[in-house]
Every structure is written in structure tokens, then in C-alpha cells.
Amino acid sequence: MTDITINTITAAPRSSAWSRGFAHFRYVMTSNPVTLLAFVMLAAMILIAVFGPALVPHDPLATAADKALKPPSLQHWFGTDQLGRDVFSRVIVATRLDLLISVSAVALSFFVGVAMGACAGYWGGWFDKLSGRLLDTIMAFPLFVLAMGIVAAAGNTIQNIVIATAIINLPFYARVARAEVSIRRNAGYVQAARLSGNSELRILIEKILPNTLPPMMVQLSLNMGWAILNAAGLSFIGLGVRPPTAEWGIMVAEGANFIVSGEWWLALFPGAALMLAVFTFNLLGDGLRDLVDPQRRT
């Protein structure tokens, strides 16, 4: 079918890279309603993360003795918690932190993992063996327990939660990167790049790595959701973000104890926010892949 597309392409006029990029974005969005939905939700989340803290109706940290554990009302849309803090404001404000945790954890493991996997896949040899062993070792750990151990050992700061999450995600990126690089290391265009006098490092970084992006994107978005869940799990066993910081996971974890006593709003709303975020990230993957895949462009 390639030639059919080619025929239509040759007829297409030249247009600026920007408008072509936008057209491609529009195509990816409209071709799959779920992807569109995911991107809309992501945009909403980013907006909330940026502007939310400035717009919330109540101070997310302010306690009020007389308003503790009130169910949702017009004044407090999501009710109030044990200390009378406004759950709605806390859920909104937490968006920024949760996005920060997931994005930075994933970014960290992405860069380190890709660098490791790419070197291992490209040059092989002792580095490949060594990093392979290291990754095997990490993989053989029950990952959540490893994260628990790291956070318990290093202290439960946001930074350590990010690092722990990054470490347990590392093998996924490194493995995908290694596989994707090693199937490409002798591809035609890589050989051509060698003939063109590119150094090996330049070939790896400029020619091969960008082409491994599409399959990575799916992993990336899955892991972003997973990072949030991971932080929530840590909160559940008491190793999460420190109070009074608002964070979805810790709010769900704490609110979960109130379900039986009927204060459902404490866990439900942050839980719903968390679920929406993870849901968004999970659905985002295919769309992201399509976006970064040049083959999908016209």
C-alpha cells in the first residue's frame, strides 16, 4: 500500500514544519478518540498543576476545629478531613506534587536507563554483561519491596521516593533501550552513517536513539502512572510523603481507614483523582508513540 500513499504525498504541497507537526498532532488525536480523551485529561491536569494552587477556595493546610470530617457541601465540595482541612483544595494542590513525582522519577530512570541500555546494546562486551547482571539483580528483587527498602533506608523525603521509584523502573528502560539499539546497530542507515564519517558515539546518540523513541513512549507513560501508584503504596505503609503536604497517595491511604466509619469522601476524591491521573498516563502511551513516530507522518 506504500505506493498509494506515496502518490498522494507527491501531490501534497510543501508546508512549514510547524503546520505539518500540528496536522500530524491533529491526525493522531482525531484518529483515536481514546487518545484524544487522554490528551485532553493530561492538558487539564497540567493546567490544574500550574494554576490550581492559586485558584483553590481554601488553604489546603489550614485546619479548623469546628469543621472536621464534614461531608461534601457547597462550601467544601469534597468535604473536610479529620483536621477540618478542605479536601477539594488538597486534591487540587496535590496535582502538582504528584505530577512532579511521577515525571521526575520517570525522567530519571528514562535517562539513566536509556543511557545504560543504549551503551550495552551498542557496544556489548563487558559493559553489557555488567549492566545485564545489575539489571537482573534489580529485577530479581520484588520491586515494591526494594522501593520500600530504599525509602526506609534513606528516609522518606520526596527526593528519595523519586529515586527509589526511578531505580525500580530502571530495568524496563534499560532493557527496551538495549533491545531497540542492538537491533539497529547494524541497520543500513547506521552503516551509512559510519561511512559518512560519524563517530560511534554520534551515531548512537544522533542516529539510533531518536529512532528507539516510539516503543519507549508506551513504557514511559505506563511507568508514570505506576510511579504515582508506587508513591501511594509507600504512603500506605507509612513511608510516603511527609505531612502536611497534600499528596493523593497519602490522602487515599489515610482516608482508607475512614471508609468503614462512613467518611467515604476522604479516600474517594483523592482516589478518583489518582485513578484519573494513572488512567490518563496509561491511555496516553499509544498516542505519544504515534506522535513521535516519523513513519506516521505524511
Binding site: T63, A65, Q82, A152, G238, L239, R242, P243, V260
Partner: protein, 537 residues
């Protein structure tokens, strides 16, 4: 443990199961003679002397072993039952006499007291058990020491049914200290038979297999899941328990515990969060008992090694900036005894614990702080134990918010269990922390001994005052009836008011929810379930 032992223990489990081939189900689990009790922690040993035995395991010592003496029972104002510190009653001992110089106590053992294997309880058993508590070290030795028992030579076998304790100095704590869970009497013949050269005190054996004379025997123990007691019908230590079996079930999730007791699937949920207690009490579907824990306070400790807290004025300023009322409402859910707002700055009585003369007053706090060099405020981390987060976290959050208003910037630091003890109590390096010490022996001097004397474990604030040290030394073993006792205690309390290394938030209660069918629940200083008094109707 080597592989052979592993095989052996696996075999033991199999054999245990094989002993009950006819019992397809525990029919008794439903019967009226079985009580189901829920606890939140894991019982990790059946031997209280063994190093590493955790607090929840102390209930085994309470229920399956006997001591020489025990405490009486009293009815509290709300109708609930509590142990009575002032009434010592016989358990294995039939009677005892204190020598005229009050330096020796002579116990006569009950003639009909026998261990489960039918052998009589003898003075040798008592001595062996007490020697063991000292020899194995750790907490048992410390607790024995509280009563003045530090040397095995103090334990004397007079004859097979007569036992004497010699004291280095007279102490009012000696007899009560024989009623604490640590001072159990073990069947030394069985234990010795299972001792080895490497393990002369049979810790490995007794860890899994109790050998005592108590009201209950352990029928099954599945660590992390449950412990089942069956009644010892030949018990002579007290009135025969009202239930034949008690299932102690470990349920870590508080929500599940609450749900189960609400749905009637358990008779007693022991030690429930205050919030549940408040709501369950209001709902009236189940009985809730909340007994104030004697000699116990939830306090905010100010470490005097932390520069700003060296100044007593700063400490007082903090005390005026704590929103006691709100904390009591939102962290304690109104269950406890308020410890703030005394009208007079001088202690009226020697009662302990008693209200401190501080209240929530930001103006006063600001004024006090302004008199110090910290009027611009300072930063301090406030730490609390992860295991105590149910009250510690809301309290810490409220303190954080309130202190912020007088310019003290507080950051919160939740410390996991293993670390807590080290940094808070052993190294004592936390500047500001929430702490919950309670003394088993119900005297103010005992509390002050642990919490206000330099170097002692619960003095997390590193408080050091020669006057208090002297007062404690004088009063610790002094009889309460001594005329100088009360004034000295008042002096001590006055120091605590003024110097304020520990700011009491409230006196906690031990909350338990139980089915209306369950009677005889009794509060004990050791904060363990005493299954011996339970009855089902």
C-alpha cells in the same frame, strides 16, 4: 536454626494437625464458651524474658503464667473495671510477710498450686524464674531492677514452699513489682530438661512452648495469625476464667477490626483508635471502654540540648502556643483526660498526672517569646513515631500550624519504628518530639525517675536538674505513707510545671470495643488483654 531443626519443626506442625483428625471444624469457635479477641500487632514469642520479645507478647505472660502476687480489681466511675494498684492480692503466694526492717519479704506458696504437668509449684521454680529474668538481661532485668531486684543472691529458697526476697534497701515498689508481667513463675523442671549448654535458660524451648501454672494454656500459636488459649481447669491463682477458650486473632487493619466487632464477628477489639471509640460509643451498638492509663501522658518533649529550648521561657512560650483543646478534639477525639488549664501555677495535690498550668494563649506565648533572644522565631523539626501516627500526626499538624503563628517554623518528621527508639530515646537527639511514656508502677516518683532523670531512657528532652534528681532519689523507694513523701512530690511537680521539658497534651485512655455479650473486661497497667476475667453471657 539448621535444616534438621527445620524439618523437626515442620514435622511438629504436621503432628499437631494430626492430633485433631476428628475435628474437621472448630465447633467450639462458635460456642458461648469461646471468646474472640482482635489485636492489631503480632505476638512474636511466648516467653517474656527472651530478648526480642515484643510488647504484644506480654499478654502471654499475663494469661498463661502466674506471678507470686497480683493486683486487685476496682470499679471505676463509669462502671468499667480496672486493676487496683493499691490492692495487692495473692496469686501463687498464699501469703507474705515483710520483715520489720522492710528489707526481706517472705512468701508462702499456695500448697495446692501445680503446674500444668501436675508437678507442684516450688520455691525453686520461683528462684529459677527470677534468676532467669536477671540473667537474660534486657528489659526483664531492667524491670526487675525497678523493684530493687538486681542480684540472684537476693532470691532465697527457704524450703520447697517458702521463698524469700532480700532487698538492698526498703522499697515501696518491691511487692508491686512482683505483680508485673515480667515476674512470672516458670516450671523449672520442664525448662531445665529442655535447656542446652548453649542455652541454659531454655529460651528456645520456652519461646515456643510455655511451661507454667496459669489460667490458660496455649493450644495453638500461628505467629502472625492467631493464638488460642484453653482454660486450665486446675488453676488456683484466682477465680476460674469464665470462658473455656480465647482466640486472639491478629488483624493489622484497624478498619477490619472495627468492621468485625461492629458486625458481631468478634467479641473484643482491643486497643482501638480513639476515633473509632468515639463513634462506636455514640452508635451504642457495641460497648466501648476507655480507661485512662495510669501514670501515662502524651507529651510534647522539648530537647534541652536544642539551643532555643535551653531557655525555659521559650519552652513556656511553646506551651502557651499549643492548641490543647483542638488537639484533644481532633487527635484524641475527646477521649482522654485533659492535662492543661490548671487554675493555679502551684500543684494543689501530689496526684499524678495532674493538669499543668498552661492553656492555649497565643498572646502570652508571643509575649514570652519576645522576652527571649528568639523573638524572631526559629526553625525546628517535630518528630513522631510512625507507629503512633494515629494521634501523633494530627497533633503534630496542629502544633505545627499554631507554632507557625508565633514565628516558630515547624517541619514534621515521621520516624519509622526501629529508628524511633534509637533516635528519640537512646540517642535522644530529636529537638522536638511527641512521646507517650507510661510507668507500670503507678507512682509519680516512678514516672519522674524514667522521664526527668538525666540518662534515663524516657528522658528524651535530656532534662537535667540536680534538685529533681535528689527528690527522685529520695522518694523512689519511700513509702507513700511517709510524711515527707507528698511535699517532695509536690516540689517535683512544681519543677515540672516551671521547667517544662515535657508539655503534657492529655492523659490517654486505653480504648476497647466489645460485644454487649462480653463481660468482665478489665483495664491493666500493662495494657494487655487479661483473658482471665472475661465472661460471655
Amino acid at each position: 536454626m539448621n535444616r534438621r531443626e527445620l524439618l523437626k519443626s515442620a514435622g511438629a506442625v504436621a503432628a499437631g494437625a494430626a492430633l485433631l483428625p476428628f475435628l474437621k471444624t472448630n465447633a467450639w469457635a462458635q460456642s458461648a464458651s469461646t471468646a474472640v479477641v482482635l489485636i492489631g500487632n503480632t505476638i512474636n514469642s511466648l516467653d517474656i524474658h527472651r530478648p526480642g520479645t515484643n510488647r504484644p507478647s506480654y499478654q502471654v505472660a499475663v494469661n498463661v503464667y502466674d506471678r507470686l502476687v497480683t493486683f486487685g480489681t476496682k470499679k471505676l466511675a463509669d462502671g468499667s473495671l480496672s486493676y487496683d494498684y493499691d490492692k495487692i492480692e495473692p496469686e501463687l503466694a498464699e501469703s507474705w510477710q515483710i520483715s520489720s526492717d522492710r528489707k526481706a519479704i517472705l512468701f508462702k506458696l499456695k500448697p495446692n498450686a501445680t503446674f500444668w504437668d501436675g508437678t507442684p509449684v516450688t520455691a525453686e521454680d520461683v528462684k529459677w524464674s527470677f534468676d532467669r529474668a536477671l540473667a537474660l538481661g534486657g528489659f526483664p532485668r531492667v524491670q526487675m531492677g525497678a523493684g530493687g531486684f538486681v542480684d540472684p543472691a537476693q532470691f532465697v529458697v527457704v524450703d520447697s514452699k517458702t521463698f524469700r526476697v532480700d532487698l538492698k534497701q526498703p522499697s515501696k515498689l518491691a511487692v508491686p513489682n512482683l505483680g508485673v508481667p515480667v515476674a512470672v513463675v516458670i516450671n523449672s523442671k520442664v525448662a531445665r530438661a529442655n535447656a542446652t549448654d548453649k542455652d541454659p535458660w531454655a529460651t528456645e524451648y520456652l519461646h515456643r512452648t510455655p511451661a507454667g501454672s496459669g489460667a490458660f494454656r496455649v493450644e495453638r500459636w500461628e505467629p502472625g495469625q492467631q493464638l488460642v488459649y484453653t482454660r486450665n481447669d486446675k488453676w488456683v491463682g484466682g477465680p476460674l476464667p469464665g470462658v473455656q477458650r480465647v482466640i486472639i486473632r491478629e488483624v493489622p487493619a484497624t478498619a477490619t477490626r472495627r468492621a468485625m466487632v461492629e458486625r458481631g464477628d468478634a467479641h473484643l477489639s482491643f486497643q482501638i483508635p480513639n476515633k473509632d471509640a468515639q463513634e462506636l460509643a455514640a452508635a451504642k451498638k457495641v460497648k466501648v471502654t476507655g480507661s485512662p492509663i495510669d501514670n501515662c501522658l502524651y507529651v510534647a518533649c522539648l530537647n534541652t540540648n536544642f539551643e532555643p529550648f535551653r531557655d525555659a521561657k521559650v519552652r513556656q512560650a511553646v506551651a502557651f502556643a499549643i492548641p490543647y483543646e483542638q488537639i484533644f478534639k481532633q487527635a484524641a477525639f475527646g477521649r482522654g483526660v485533659p492535662m492543661w488549664g490548671a487554675k493555679s501555677a502551684k500543684p494543689a495535690t501530689a496526684a499524678w498526672p495532674q493538669k499543668f498550668p498552661y492553656d492555649f494563649d497565643l498572646k502570652k506565648a508571643q509575649a514570652l517569646l519576645a522576652q527571649t533572644k528568639y523573638k524572631g522565631g526559629f526553625e525546628v523539626p517535630l518528630s513522631y513515631d510512625l507507629g503512633e501516627a494515629d494521634w501523633g500526626e494530627p497533633a503534630a499538624l496542629l502544633i505545627q500550624e499554631s507554632l507557625g503563628k508565633i514565628g516558630i517554623k515547624v517541619t514534621l518528621d515521621k520516624v519509622p519504628g526501629a529508628n524511633w527508639r534509637t533516635v528519640a530515646l537512646v540517642e535522644k537527639k530529636l529537638p522536638f518530639l511527641l512521646e507517650n511514656f507510661g510507668g507500670w508502677l503507678n507512682t509519680p516518683c516512678y514516672y519522674f525517675y524514667w522521664a526527668y532523670i538525666k540518662g534515663n531512657l524516657f528522658n528524651a528532652s535530656n532534662y537535667d536538674d540536680p534538685a529533681v534528681a535528689k527528690l527522685v532519689e529520695e522518694t523512689l523507694h519511700m513509702e507513700k505513707s511517709d510524711k515527707s513523701y507528698e511535699p517532695k512530690i509536690r516540689q517535683m511537680i512544681q519543677k515540672a510545671f516551671d521547667d517544662l521539658p515535657r508539655i503534657p497534651l492529655w492523659q490517654p485512655t486505653l480504648e476497647s470495643a466489645m460485644s454487649p455479650k462480653l463481660q468482665g473486661y478489665e483495664f491493666w497497667f500493662h495494657r494487655q488483654v487479661d483473658a482471665r476475667s472475661l465472661k460471655l453471657t
